[in-house]
């Protein structure tokens, strides 16, 4: 490993993972010997960029229930659909069909009418999923309750009817939260707040008023009168990943990492085509291909160095020289 060769103090050991709990709905693990920025990237990517399928378009043939069409449509979007075998399904916008087809869309239909005196409950299990789809599991509503009913969609009184056709498509949560594979992701580090990343509010004593996390036992508590370590950085991260049911929790982590890698791979390929990076509108010459005496000026842009940064629309005060390196290189920049 390239980065192993670099001086990485505790990180020299290399990343480590320790699972403390795992079942079909959640996985708790500790990720250590990585930087906060990487751990946070992992958290962000499993929440926002692991693709799933969710209902994206609903046609109402009949809705005489007490709920408005858009209200029901919103609920339908949030029903978890099986996304375990989503690999062979393209995003609808990337599909050759240009709209929707068997390869990129799963059609779910539901037709319910209450005829009896009892109030009728309509559940996700009442959907019939069209067989024309990428494979025979993708798009099935996730049903985990003991009765096997699935999420409740609406209730119908005598004479009321709901007849809908839904199109489920692949997407990511960056676009809409209904595509989240996770229902919750716990992320914490430094349970004793030794790093002072938190400024705990208190009435009289923060120590007494703030309950300790369960991970507090995993790390040494601060010693009495221990001086603050200015060089300390967070090193152990505690994840608690809870699946919404559409993808298994362990697979979410795996897919998240591979999603990040695909992102990187695409950028590496883009950079590899050396010409492209500089080929853009008004872009500068390739720095590598440039002679020593070359001027880095084009299209009237001044160089950020030569003019104190006043003129350039891009550089100027916004260059690294204009901002303090402290705020950026430290731990303050993440969110």
């Amino acid at each position: 490993m390239d980065y192993d060769a670099m001086d990485m103090d505790t990180e020299a050991l290399g990343p480590a993972v320790k699972i403390s709990e795992a079942d079909s709905t959640h996985v708790n693990f500790e990720l250590s010997n990585v930087d906060l920025s990487f751990a946070n990237s992992l958290r962000r990517i499993i929440q926002a960029e692991v693709p799933t399928v969710a209902i994206d378009l609903v046609e109402f043939m009949a809705n005489t229930s007490v709920l408005a069409d858009e209200f029901i449509a919103h609920r339908l979007g949030l029903i978890p659909l099986d996304s375990r075998n989503i690999k062979d399904m393209p995003m609808a916008r990337d599909c050759d069909c240009g709209g929707h087809c068997d390869k990129c869309t799963v059609i779910l239909t539901l037709h319910a009418k209450c005829l009896g005196d009892e109030i009728m409950n309509v559940h996700a299990s009442d959907f019939s999923v069209s067989s024309a789809r990428p494979n025979q599991t993708v798009g099935n509503p996730i049903i985990t309750d003991p009765e096997g009913l699935g999420p409740l969609i609406c209730k119908l009184r005598k004479g009321q009817e709901l007849h809908i056709e839904c199109m489920a498509k692949k997407g990511i949560a960056k676009e809409h939260a209904k595509w989240m594979p996770t229902s919750a992701v716990g992320f914490e580090y430094d349970p004793h707040n030794k790093l002072h990343h938190l400024d705990l509010w208190y009435e009289t004593d923060a120590e007494a008023e703030w309950p300790k996390s369960k991970y507090a036992d995993w790390e040494d508590p601060p010693q009495e009168g221990e001086p603050f370590d200015y060089d300390a950085v967070p090193n152990r991260f505690y994840f608690e990943v809870e699946s919404a049911g559409n993808i298994d929790p362990d697979a979410i982590i795996q897919l998240g990492i591979s999603e990040l890698q695909q992102k990187l791979a695409k950028l590496i390929t883009g950079l590899g085509e050396k010409s492209n990076i500089d080929d853009q509108y008004d872009g500068p010459q390739s720095p590598g291909a440039m002679d020593d005496g070359a001027m880095y000026q084009n299209d009237g842009y001044q160089t950020a160095y030569g003019n104190g940064g006043a003129q350039s629309a891009w550089g100027g005060g916004a260059t690294a020289y204009g901002t303090t390196p402290y705020g950026n290189s430290g731990q303050g920049g993440w969110s």
Binding site: D2, Y3, M6, M8, G14, P15, V17, I19, A22, D35, S37, F38, S41, L42, R44, A48, D56, L57, E59, M91, A92, R93, H100, M167, K169, Q254, I257, L260, Q261, L264, L267, I268, G270, L271, E273, S275, N276, I277, D278, D279, Q280, Y281, D282, G283, P284, P287, Y296, N298, D299, Q302, T303, S312, W314, G315, T319, A320, T323, P325, N328, S329
Partner: protein, 158 residues
């Protein structure tokens, strides 16, 4: 006064096929400005590889071989912070930082300044590669641990 819905000349509901697919705009209706700037691919005219090769990184004007700012499209803190960290780990790099200049523009800038031993572009390429390697290790460690954990669970229940 509450706004009123005007009755238009459309007595029947539009059929599903006629309705634009909600949140997923057609290629043509994408962000016009971004297409102007980036989808042209330098205007080099070779239309062989149009799709998926939309250039997502460019060097901002005012850079030198060892000090450059890169602009990434459609990227944010997820890539920016981790990449900044891994580039900073490179001993040939003097300075590296990232910023998202404006929250409503999906752009992320990375500033790299290196010593004379390398170039900013090379440091960026190495950073991407190193981060990919790190991902490999973490993915491998996680899956090994997952298998160990399920195996241990099975032993216990036997």
């Amino acid at each position: 006064m509450p706004s009123r819905t005007k009755k238009t000349e459309q007595p029947e509901d539009a059929s599903m096929e006629d309705v634009p697919t909600s949140a997923q705009p057609d290629q043509e209706t994408g962000d016009a400005m971004q297409e102007d700037e980036f989808a042209e691919n330098g205007g080099s005219g070779n239309g062989e590889e149009e799709e998926d090769t939309v250039q997502r990184v460019r060097i901002l004007p005012g850079s030198s071989p060892t000090a450059a700012s890169f602009e990434f499209l459609e990227e944010g803190h997820t890539l920016g912070n981790a990449l900044r960290y891994i580039i900073m780990k490179n001993p040939d790099v003097e300075f590296c930082a990232y910023s998202i200049p404006h929250p409503s523009e999906a752009k992320m800038n990375i500033r790299i300044q290196t010593y004379d031993t390398t170039t900013a572009t090379a440091a960026l390429a190495k950073g991407l590669k190193d981060l990919e390697d790190l991902c490999d290790v973490v993915a491998d460690k996680f899956w090994t641990e997952r298998n160990r954990f399920t195996e241990a669970g099975r032993m216990e229940s036997d």
